[in-house]
């Protein structure tokens, strides 16, 4: 975990995030958002969370970008007007965002260091998960937690995904007959 690499990725994240907010052209904003997701995916893999990195790259940079593109294509698209108009930032908005960022940054020193074994999150159930996973014959602890220890939560998440599909069909008033 090299600090230089992390700093570079954080700068890229920040730049992409600001670019998404400032671009007037929806297409450019979507591309910047894809860059944001890819930078975040790289950051997760630097932090040794490859499962999360894979999800971020596939969902954030891949599928979400594709969904945004088709929605832009179906709705207004890019009109010459929006592309040409300059984006303006109001002083009041800047003040509110700045205050919020300062408030969030103020809490950062209270967080435990990355990977700190004495962090509260590693104190309660995590040791039990780590101790029991090898007995299950499962090498990836993340999978064991997701499907075995927390199977009911994961089931709920899958149903949420399923309901999203049902909702889109309902909104478009599509019916499927067997």
């Amino acid at each position: 975990m090299t600090p230089t690499l992390v700093s570079l990725l954080l700068v890229l994240l920040l730049a992409a995030g600001v670019a998404v907010a400032l671009f007037r052209d929806p297409l450019a904003a979507v591309v910047a958002f894809g860059i944001y997701s890819l930078a975040l995916a790289m950051l997760w893999s630097v932090f040794r969370a490859p499962d999360v990195a894979l999800t971020e790259a596939a969902v954030g940079a891949g599928v979400t970008t594709a969904l945004f593109l088709v929605v832009i294509a179906r709705t207004s698209g890019r009109s010459a007007e929006t592309v040409r108009s300059r984006s303006t930032v109001r002083g009041r908005s800047l003040l509110v965002v700045g205050a919020f960022v300062a408030l969030a940054a103020w809490t950062v020193p209270a967080l435990p260091a990355v990977g700190d074994p004495s962090a509260p999150a590693f104190q309660r159930v995590a040791p039990a998960y780590l101790a029991r996973t090898p007995d299950l014959g499962v090498a990836n602890v993340v999978t064991a937690v997701l499907v075995f220890f927390r199977g009911f939560d994961t089931f709920g998440e899958v149903v949420v995904v399923f309901v999203a599909g049902v909702a889109v069909l309902a909104v478009f008033r599509r019916e499927v007959s067997a």
Binding site: L27, V30, V31, P50, D51, L54, T55, A58, V59, G62, V63, A66, L67, L69, V70, V71, I72, A73, R74, G77, L136, G137, V138, A139, N140, V142, T143, A144, L146, V147, F148, G151, F152, T154, F155, E157, V158, V159, V161, F162, A164, G165, V168, L169, F172, R174, V176, S177, A178
Partner: protein, 155 residues
């Protein structure tokens, strides 16, 4: 690379026929998609022993097929990934998970207690079946979202 191109493809993909994309787009996609699908299936099936799982694998498979839709047209893709099939797959995934999770009840266990199955390595196979269900539901739902949002009203 293909963003502008992709948007055009989707825009004209809803309804009217369009000229095929340039080989610069279609040939790399033709080469890439089998690799993406293989990687997605590997990720989905190999979740117990390496990085990944059903969710990631399902999304990667769906992303590979979306790439196909961008290169060769949404209408053409929808011809063989039609709505009833996608809905059936999404439902089948959820039902498969419920079936695997409810099975232990018959052997005196609790819901989702995969270790109650009286087979050797039941937990590993149970997890892999659940991952397969997750991958099926996620891939089918993502494709459904994409194709419904991209499609015209006549679809």
């Amino acid at each position: 690379m293909s963003d502008q191109r992709g948007t055009d493809g989707v825009r004209s993909g809803s309804g009217d026929t369009r000229p095929p994309d340039s080989p610069v787009i279609t040939e790399p996609v033709r080469l890439l998609v089998p690799l993406v699908l293989t990687f997605g299936l590997y990720t989905a099936f190999h979740g117990t022993s390496s990085v990944g799982g059903g969710f990631q694998g399902g999304v990667v498979v769906a992303a590979g097929l979306i790439l196909l839709a961008f290169a060769f047209g949404v209408t053409k893709t929808r011809d063989w990934l039609d709505r009833p099939a996608m809905v059936a797959l999404a439902t089948a995934g959820v039902i498969a998970i419920v079936a695997v999770a409810a099975g232990p009840l018959a052997f005196g266990g609790t819901f989702f207690d995969l270790s109650a199955y009286p087979f050797p390595k039941a937990v590993v196979y149970g997890i892999e079946l659940v991952e397969l269900g997750i991958a099926t539901t996620v891939a089918a739902t993502v494709l459904l979202l994409f194709l419904e949002l991209a499609g015209g009203d006549d679809a």
